[in-house]
Symmetry: D2
Subunit: 428 residues, 4 copies
Amino acid sequence: MKDAAGDSRAVLRERFKRARAFSERLCEPLETEDYGLQTVVEASPPKWHLAHVSWFYETFLLRPFLPAYSVFHPRFEHLFNSYYEQTGAGFWPRQERGLLSRPTVAEVYDYRHHVDAAMLRLIEGCDVADWPRVAMRLQIGLNHEQQHQELLVTDIKRHFAHNPLRPAYLKDLPQSPLADPAPLRWEPLEGGLVRLGLDSSGPDAAFGFDNERPRHRVFLEPFAVADRPVTNGEYLEFVQDGGYQNPALWLSDGWAEVQTRRWRCPLYWEEVDGAWQLMTLSGMRPLNPAEPVCHLSYYEADAFATWAGKRLPTEAEWEHAADAVEIAGNFVDDGWLHPRPAPDGAGLKQLFGDVWEWTGSAYLPYPGYRAPAGALGEYNGKFMCNQMVLRGGSCATSLDHIRPTYRNFFYPVERWQFKGFRLAETLK
Amino acid sequence: MKDAAGDSRAVLRERFKRARAFSERLCEPLETEDYGLQTVVEASPPKWHLAHVSWFYETFLLRPFLPAYSVFHPRFEHLFNSYYEQTGAGFWPRQERGLLSRPTVAEVYDYRHHVDAAMLRLIEGCDVADWPRVAMRLQIGLNHEQQHQELLVTDIKRHFAHNPLRPAYLKDLPQSPLADPAPLRWEPLEGGLVRLGLDSSGPDAAFGFDNERPRHRVFLEPFAVADRPVTNGEYLEFVQDGGYQNPALWLSDGWAEVQTRRWRCPLYWEEVDGAWQLMTLSGMRPLNPAEPVCHLSYYEADAFATWAGKRLPTEAEWEHAADAVEIAGNFVDDGWLHPRPAPDGAGLKQLFGDVWEWTGSAYLPYPGYRAPAGALGEYNGKFMCNQMVLRGGSCATSLDHIRPTYRNFFYPVERWQFKGFRLAETLK
Amino acid sequence: MKDAAGDSRAVLRERFKRARAFSERLCEPLETEDYGLQTVVEASPPKWHLAHVSWFYETFLLRPFLPAYSVFHPRFEHLFNSYYEQTGAGFWPRQERGLLSRPTVAEVYDYRHHVDAAMLRLIEGCDVADWPRVAMRLQIGLNHEQQHQELLVTDIKRHFAHNPLRPAYLKDLPQSPLADPAPLRWEPLEGGLVRLGLDSSGPDAAFGFDNERPRHRVFLEPFAVADRPVTNGEYLEFVQDGGYQNPALWLSDGWAEVQTRRWRCPLYWEEVDGAWQLMTLSGMRPLNPAEPVCHLSYYEADAFATWAGKRLPTEAEWEHAADAVEIAGNFVDDGWLHPRPAPDGAGLKQLFGDVWEWTGSAYLPYPGYRAPAGALGEYNGKFMCNQMVLRGGSCATSLDHIRPTYRNFFYPVERWQFKGFRLAETLK
Amino acid sequence: MKDAAGDSRAVLRERFKRARAFSERLCEPLETEDYGLQTVVEASPPKWHLAHVSWFYETFLLRPFLPAYSVFHPRFEHLFNSYYEQTGAGFWPRQERGLLSRPTVAEVYDYRHHVDAAMLRLIEGCDVADWPRVAMRLQIGLNHEQQHQELLVTDIKRHFAHNPLRPAYLKDLPQSPLADPAPLRWEPLEGGLVRLGLDSSGPDAAFGFDNERPRHRVFLEPFAVADRPVTNGEYLEFVQDGGYQNPALWLSDGWAEVQTRRWRCPLYWEEVDGAWQLMTLSGMRPLNPAEPVCHLSYYEADAFATWAGKRLPTEAEWEHAADAVEIAGNFVDDGWLHPRPAPDGAGLKQLFGDVWEWTGSAYLPYPGYRAPAGALGEYNGKFMCNQMVLRGGSCATSLDHIRPTYRNFFYPVERWQFKGFRLAETLK
């Protein structure tokens, strides 16, 4: 006779195995040499991701809950901690993650398999009394691995784009036919006093991160959002209209970045012999005007909106608009690894998948938010300053990772994720 | 027979003369050598402030509205522009404002008097048709000069504190007797759907900056705020409890700054022979436990709140709490140039004056906000990213400059203003 | 019937094959992951060295002299150029050599073998008219490859020492027994008008670099040199006497580096549980007092000499002292890859091999020096500023690479080569 | 009856008074605001120079030798020490010398007069037993003050050139008529075994710095030197021939600086409306082709020489050539404060005065050199690394400060002194 926990264990065991396998599948196209690359500080080596997600299980599940667990290597606690100050082991400097040829790739896979075996023992054998806490941490661990799967995709793209040979991660990725963007339509919403965020956690609560909680009320004035993200074709008009040369369109900090970093177009765009191309995970391709524009900073999204006489939606507006929309779209599961043109038809499109959408909201705690105690409390709470919220997931996100309440966050200057944006406007 | 504009002209003329005189009065205690100092990039030389506020009138009033106005010096358009990209003249790099011995102090005063005379001609003689725009820009110019008067005070303090001789700006400033802080009390507020910001501008509208508009609705959950700001005595407990050594209390970016900048206490605190002192505008003084703690970054305010199990109020909470409170307190007009202990009595105290209060809100546009067109539109709008809102004015602010809706904003790392904070908590 | 050129071709062909094979042999102990490492800007990835030396033959021999030579890859001209401005292809930034996972290690070996085959065709088949120039450039190419073999050893050591796991390049390298240093003896020399440098080049001239020429006269006052380099044991006394805390011993620029870089001992020394160890190519080992001290900057060598009341020899003194000494010692050929204690016996010891010896001479042109024309002229001449001369070769140098006239040069701050020093003094 | 010491005291007292007065005379044209400027780290504020030279007498003469001397201010020991590590008081950071508005200019003059009075008491009243040491240190102090007089001139020029108003230090300085340079002629010298440097010090020895000693022998091959320095007209040809765009002409470190600092011409040259001008101490002037080119780095001098197929003389060649030449020329005493065209006539011209001449010699100790003990030993010895030797003095040097053996030294990148160069070549 099975009890609920038994069911849950079987389900989580399968999800664990699937998640673990998917990380490794994403690395299959890599050469051994690719695993160690860190071309910019914000993008980690694939090898580091593979090890770090394993460190996470080791630190938050195996050490505290699996009796007689023997760590794979005593220094990995230090080498593969990302930023948790409260574990006591410190962490190897982020900017030096690419400077370690050892452990080798093979050793990191051994580490993974050591952790896998122990995790399966824990899932199957842990005390009933421990199970609720184990299950909750395992949920976090799985979602954490999914986040790093997205980073694997975006970081590999970043590293390969740095190489003047512009190598392809996968030569034969599918490709959307070149087309002009469909005309943009506006979707009006009434606003009013709406609810935002996830219901407070409990035994039956759906999984969600602490930063999505608590559910709370927000008042919205009437507004409209565009039915789809801004496209390459539209953004090219901004570029050709001198958008990157006109300080009047830019936030002050954004204009400083444009000048310091000599930005003239989104990340991965290149003008080659007078024609625009962009770097993709299958190498260089011609710019497709119908695809959502991608790999933009918040500053570029904001400057485009100013140029267009519009603005970005707030995260409350975005979530309110997304509330009634089915979670479907172009996710990592689909294997395109690149945004696709908006589908035909009425209604709001591409809220989920394709590109993360910059909102005009700073990443701050919801009213009543409290970070959990201990090192796991560092997961989301300590980053609630200087970053902006993005919503909806991208073509590098797993479908079962995303929710309407999901809050992603990055510094305004960062561009290497699949980030685009959707326009909004206030209605009178 | 006088018309409304006539009245208004007389009033504004007097306010203009008063504002101009006050800037110069603030500089009276300076030696000639002090006028050119720029010890840190964010704090400008007094000479630069005196010239820049004059440049503002010249650029936005005299050149466009006073026929046959002759500029004092053709290069001042470039030298004393702060950051307006759209004036066409560019600007001397901010970090090099202290590298100009010429124009001399005497020449800058000549420049001021040249502008003063022209401004009086403009105020008295300008066309009735132009007057509304002139009057509105003059209001901005006067408020702008008041903002720089506050900066004169805080920048002089910053520069003098950098000198190992710790010179006094004014030796004989009044001083509060050393005392322990009064016990802190909590003021509960119901929240609900409240209104925030200034009514939209019009001929009868009170003066306010564009960033305070439009007035709009915000929903607040029940909350409580402390009756007074956190004091030196309370903050010292945090310091002595190892607050600056415990990463668990800090935002991630804050902890990075603590380590990089080796922060161990607020700006201007010094431990001298085992006793805490602080640098003031009258030189070094013993730390007074009853005074509001001051010269803190947002990170330090937030870390203290975390340590205390509380949080900072949002700007909406702050403004809602301040709505019914009389605008009174310790302002620059009082001549203390230093925060004073909270007065006795019930109710919310020191919302206005003493110290600017960090809120937990990012500086972002209100719903429906549009920056004005042209260079003047750069005044507030282009800074709406990466900064946090502060409220209520300080002991370096002019009383008639402040309003409950007034939004000040600084980067979280900046400490040289008179900045403190007040605790808040969410009620269930 | 063979002519002289025929002989010479056979000799050079064998030397070419030997040099090429030795580079690859040095890389045999590496994992694929190790090939791409660049932990500090001055130490290149092994993969880069393997490719760059091939680029050298391709650029200076195959392209100009081998008819119908087809380059292996059109971009390698750019990727593997080190610093030759005059080739026209530019060069990938030195500090980013570790950021290229492609070409892979296997592709770089393919590149090598492509070049090898072409070079053998050139050596065997080139016109008799071309042969003298080909032979001379081939000599340079072979010596160039030997220089990079030394860099392979020192760069691998640098990269491995950066890894907190302190991996061994070769676990089973031989090791000298721990011992105290033999007493230091002084060798007096009379000096006078001596000759320095290589005889001017000609068909029969021995190979040498342009910077060793022309042979010229120098006047030397009487001096004495130590019979062997300073040892770890002696240097440890300096460390324990507070040498790194006493500015009076240091050159001004050196003292600035001590403070900025927080130097407290030579590179690779570590105090572990109160005992000194050092990182070697076979991992961590206890400090051996009898071995020559190694991996020092010029500043440290000079500070020790000041502390000891002595000085470093000039390069003229060194060369004059070395003139009559047999070229023998501990070279890379011996396979220790680490300095060894001085042998017993009279006379000057260890002038050749073990450690490069810092001299007190700046790297400047000899009287009458002219850099050759064209890109090859950049080999040595353009570095004649800001660097100091080192003499004698090290345990990572090939025996047949070194001569008494050989001038090596590095910036005074650099420590990652096998660099030590010998004391000298002026005699009255 | 006067003895020798009495004579010597009177002479030195007059020289002291003259030197002290000349420093102040150089500052007469300054505004109070100019005294505090430090626009680049290497150029100190005039106020600092005035105080530092006084600190020198206080530290090395008044404290040790004048009984009951009372220091002017206890913190000045720290504030006005330049770089002497062994005095024990540390020193205010060099890059922050411009950040001190206090002490004021008036207070610095008071400090000077306090030191002046005490020094006169010391000169007149010190023990006969102390006098030799006092006299020797006083000689150093006077020469030290002369060096800072030159720096006053060059630093003021640097600071004023940074100001976009390009103010004049003295409006009415004399000016040479525009002219083409006289043809360059070559002076051959035989070389051989020559003597270099000053005779070893003793009671009757002429004053000289430790770095000019000991006198020693050097062997020179036959060479020729140009009869005058390179002129603006000649250097302009190099500029117009693309000299700053051609890496083949440059030392590697020099080419890096050209690119990093975007050098396109000497310091102070500006192309204004198509015509070359240069900043002088009397403001902007048209470029005079006949004047020696000035304000060049070593790299620029070396690149020009390479372009011209020549080289720079070594310091030994320079000193040997200068041995028989009268010390006369355009010095600060003449009041031009700018180089003048070469006079007519045969023989070597302008070896002394006009511009310091870069030599091809690194600044290193002479054979047998020993730095004096104690803090004064830091004066010259600790800088013997990474700098190049310049010879002959400039239009900002005092005539009675210079000798044929005088060794000045700067980093190759530095340009703000009056530095030019003379060509040389090796003869067969």
